[in-house]
C-alpha cells in the first residue's frame, strides 16, 4: 500500500470521511490558484485534486472546460504543475491529467520528477484499466498512486480487476456523463454503491455531480469520501473579478461540505 492510500485509510480508521476538492491548475491565474488551494486546505479538505489543463478535455462538462480555457491562456503546462507542488504542501496533491500531456512529457520522466516533489497521485480520465498497466507499475515504483475509475456501466467482474490494479483510492463516477454540478443523483446510485462496496477494498471516493452538503448527507454512509470539482470551479467563475469574495465563498463552500461529511 502506498502513501496516499495509507493516508486515506488512516482517515477512514478515525471514522472520518475524505474530502477531495478539485480545481484547475492556473485558473484564474497561478497565484490565485495557489491562494485557492490554501483556502481549500484550511476549510477542511483532506487532499487536493488539481487538473492539468488539456486542449480537448472530453470527459469534462462546460464548467471545467471554461476553467481549462482560462488556464490555457496563461500558458499552463505540466511544468507549472511541478512549480505548484514546490509551493504547496499543506495537504497531499493529486494531479488530474489527460494522457497525452503525460505521454508528451515522457511517462517515466514524469513519475521520477513528480516523486521528488511529493506528488501523491495522478488520475488519468482517458486511461482505462486495459491501458493502465504500465502506468500503474511506474506509479507503484515511485510511490505515486494511480487511482482508476469505476462507473455505473462497469460490470462487477471488471470492477474486481480494477480494484486490484487501482492504487490510492477508487474513483467511483456517480452518473454516466461528463463532469459537472448536478442537483440530484440518479435514483439507482445508492443501490450501485452498495453493490460496489462488496467488491472494492480501496478507499471508495464518489465524484461527478456533487454540488451541495445536502447531496453529501444522502450518500456519505455508502462511501469513504467525495470528490467535488465543478461546484468549486463555479465559485471561481462567478467571482472572477472579485478575488477576496472568491476566496471567502470557496472557504464557506468547502467548509459546509466538511461539516456535512463530519455531521
Amino acid at each position: 500500500m502506498g502513501g496516499l492510500q495509507r493516508y486515506f485509510q488512516d482517515i477512514i480508521f478515525k471514522r472520518r470521511k475524505i474530502l477531495l476538492p478539485y480545481i484547475t491548475l492556473g485558473d484564474p491565474d497561478f497565484d490565485s490558484c495557489l491562494k485557492i488551494a490554501r483556502i481549500v486546505a484550511e476549510a477542511g479538505a483532506d487532499a487536493l485534486e488539481i487538473g492539468i489543463p488539456f486542449s480537448d478535455p472530453l470527459a469534462d462538462g462546460p464548467t471545467i472546460q471554461k476553467a481549462v480555457n482560462r488556464a490555457l491562456k496563461n500558458n499552463v503546462s505540466l511544468e507549472t504543475g511541478f512549480e505548484f507542488l514546490k509551493r504547496f504542501s499543506l495537504i497531499p496533491v493529486v494531479f488530474m491529467s489527460y494522457f497525452n500531456p503525460l505521454l508528451a512529457y515522457g511517462v517515466d520522466r514524469f513519475f521520477r520528477r513528480a516523486k521528488r516533489l511529493n506528488l501523491a497521485g495522478v488520475v488519468i480520465p482517458d486511461l482505462p484499466f486495459e491501458e493502465a498497466k504500465e502506468v500503474s507499475i511506474l506509479g507503484r515504483r515511485n510511490d505515486i498512486a494511480v487511482p482508476l475509475f469505476i462507473s455505473p456501466t462497469t460490470s462487477l467482474q471488471r470492477a474486481k480487476q480494477i480494484n486490484r490494479m487501482s492504487e490510492g483510492f477508487i474513483y467511483y463516477i456517480s452518473v454516466t456523463g461528463v463532469t459537472g454540478a448536478r442537483k440530484k443523483f440518479p435514483p439507482q446510485l445508492i443501490y450501485n454503491l452498495k453493490q460496489i462496496r462488496k467488491i472494492v477494498t480501496r478507499p471508495l471516493c464518489l465524484g461527478f455531480g456533487i454540488s451541495s452538503p445536502f447531496q453529501i448527507k444522502e450518500i456519505k454512509n455508502y462511501v469513504d469520501g467525495v470528490i467535488v470539482g465543478s461546484a468549486v470551479v463555479k465559485k471561481i467563475e462567478s467571482n472572477i473579478n472579485r478575488k477576496t469574495r472568491m476566496l471567502e465563498e470557496i472557504f464557506k463552500f468547502i467548509n459546509s461540505l466538511r461539516r456535512a461529511l463530519d455531521g
Partner: protein, 393 residues
C-alpha cells in the same frame, strides 16, 4: 499480417482504447455485436442490398482519358462521388446504422467536418427510422452551410459546437461527451478510421467495398493490378477503404495525400502523418499534431473534411512498415486539382480528393509513362462551390 489489429485493438503500437471507463462497456458491446451480427449472412445480404439498390454501388471505375493525356500516364478514377449523397461516407453509415438498429439502439449521434458524413448518417437514419443528432463545429457550419440544411431536411438535429477551434475535432469531443451521457440507448457513428477500438476496424471493413470493387474492375479492364493507389487522407477512411483489399499485393504502391494548408513550414496545415508526433487523442494512439506540452494543435485546411489533427492508427502503421507513403499538398494545389479535373473531365471533385489530384499534377514527372494509377475520387464538389468561388471566382 492479416490478423491486425490484435485483441486490444492495436496495429503494432497504434490504436487501442483510451476512453473514459463509462464507454468501455459500449465498446465491448459494439465489438461483440459487430462480430456476431456483422458476420452473419443475413446482415451482409441486407447491407449489400442497400449498397446496391439504395446507394448505387458498385461505383464506376472510370478511365479519365483527358486527364491521363495531361498527366502523361494512365489514370482511373474510382467514382465514389457518384454514390448516393455524393461521397464514400454512405458505405460506412449504412453499415453502422444498420448494425445499431440490430443492436436495439434507438438514437444515433455523429460528428461531421465537411458535412458529408453528417449527411450520410442523417440519410441512413431517415431510411432506417432512427433518431439522429449531428455535432458540427461552428466554423464548419459556416463553411458548409448547404450540408447543414441538407441534414435538417433529412430529419436530423444539427448541434453547433462552439468550444475549442470549432471544427471537426471539437465536434468529436462533443459527440463523445454526448455518448458518455447517453451510452445505453445511443450508438455513435464515427465517420472515419479513427477513435477507440473497434471503430478503426469497423469503418475500414465497411469502406473496404471501395477497394474490393476496384480490384475486380481493374482486373477486368486492364487484366492487371495498378502500380499506384492514391487517395486523400484526413482521418483516412476513403484511403484505407481503397488500400486495404490490396494490402497483400506488394507491387501495388499506396500514396496518401494530406492537407498542407498554407504550407508545412507554417503552423496552418493538417498534415498529421507528415508532421505529427505519436500521441493519444480521441481514444486512440497514433500520429497527432500537437505542441511540446502535448496540447492538440489547431489545424487548417481549405477542405473541412481534412481539417483534423489526428489520423487513423492503421495509416500510422502503414507508414511505420513503409507499406504506404504519405505526402502533403497545399491549398493552392488542391484548388488547381479542382480546376483541372472540372475542365478536363467535366467532373467537379470535392476539395478533399482535389488534394490527391493536385499531388498528381504537381508530381506528374515522377511517374513513368506506362504507370497505371487509380485515384479515389471520394466525393463530389457541389458542397465546395462557394469556397472555390472565393478563391478562383
Amino acid at each position: 499480417m492479416r490478423k491486425l489489429p490484435d485483441k486490444k485493438g492495436y496495429f503494432s503500437e497504434f490504436g487501442g482504447r483510451f476512453v473514459p471507463e463509462t464507454l468501455i462497456y459500449a465498446l465491448d458491446e459494439l465489438e461483440q455485436a459487430y462480430k456476431k451480427i456483422g458476420g452473419n449472412r443475413k446482415f451482409k445480404q441486407e447491407l449489400n442490398y442497400l449498397l446496391k439498390y439504395y446507394a448505387g454501388r458498385p461505383t464506376p471505375l472510370y478511365h479519365a482519358r483527358n486527364l491521363s493525356r495531361y498527366l502523361g500516364f494512365k489514370i482511373y478514377l474510382k467514382r465514389e462521388d457518384l454514390a448516393h449523397t455524393g461521397a464514400h461516407k454512405i458505405n460506412n453509415t449504412l453499415g453502422q446504422v444498420l448494425l445499431a438498429k440490430k443492436m436495439g439502439k434507438t438514437r444515433i449521434i455523429a460528428e461531421t467536418g465537411a458535412g458529408q458524413h453528417g449527411v450520410a448518417t442523417a440519410t441512413a437514419c431517415a431510411l432506417l427510422k432512427l433518431k439522429c443528432v449531428v455535432y458540427m463545429g461552428e466554423e464548419d457550419v459556416h463553411r458548409q452551410a448547404l450540408n447543414v440544411f441538407r441534414m435538417k431536411l433529412l430529419g436530423a438535429e444539427v448541434r453547433v459546437v462552439k468550444s475549442g477551434s470549432r471544427t471537426l475535432k471539437d465536434a468529436i469531443n462533443e459527440a463523445i461527451r454526448d455518448w458518455v451521457t447517453n451510452v445505453r440507448d445511443t450508438h455513435y457513428v464515427i465517420g472515419s478510421v479513427v477513435g477507440p477500438h473497434p471503430y478503426p476496424v469497423i469503418v475500414r471493413d465497411f469502406q473496404s467495398v471501395i477497394g474490393k470493387e476496384t480490384r475486380k474492375q481493374i482486373l477486368k479492364l486492364e487484366s492487371r493490378l495498378p502500380d499506384y493507389l492514391i487517395a486523400c487522407v484526413g482521418g483516412g477512411s476513403n484511403a484505407l477503404g481503397l488500400f486495404y483489399p490490396f494490402f497483400s499485393d506488394r507491387k501495388v504502391k499506396f500514396i496518401g495525400v494530406e492537407a498542407g494548408g498554407s504550407g508545412l513550414n507554417t503552423s496552418k496545415h493538417a498534415a498529421t502523418l507528415c508532421k505529427g508526433k505519436i500521441g493519444v487523442f480521441h481514444g486512440f494512439k497514433s500520429y497527432i499534431l500537437q505542441d511540446k506540452g502535448g496540447q492538440i494543435h489547431p489545424t487548417y485546411s481549405v477542405s473541412a473534411g481534412l481539417d483534423y489533427p489526428g489520423v487513423g492508427p492503421e495509416h500510422a502503421y502503414y507508414k511505420k512498415i513503409h507499406r504506404a507513403s504519405y505526402y502533403a499538398v497545399n491549398d493552392r494545389w488542391a484548388l488547381e486539382g479542382f480546376k483541372i479535373l472540372s475542365r478536363l473531365e467535366g467532373i467537379m471533385p470535392a476539395l478533399e480528393p482535389s488534394h490527391a489530384i493536385g499531388f498528381l499534377i504537381k508530381e506528374r514527372k515522377k511517374f513513368k509513362k506506362d504507370a497505371l494509377v487509380i485515384l479515389s475520387l471520394s466525393g463530389r464538389g457541389d458542397k465546395d462551390i462557394d469556397i472555390v468561388k472565393k478563391y478562383l471566382g
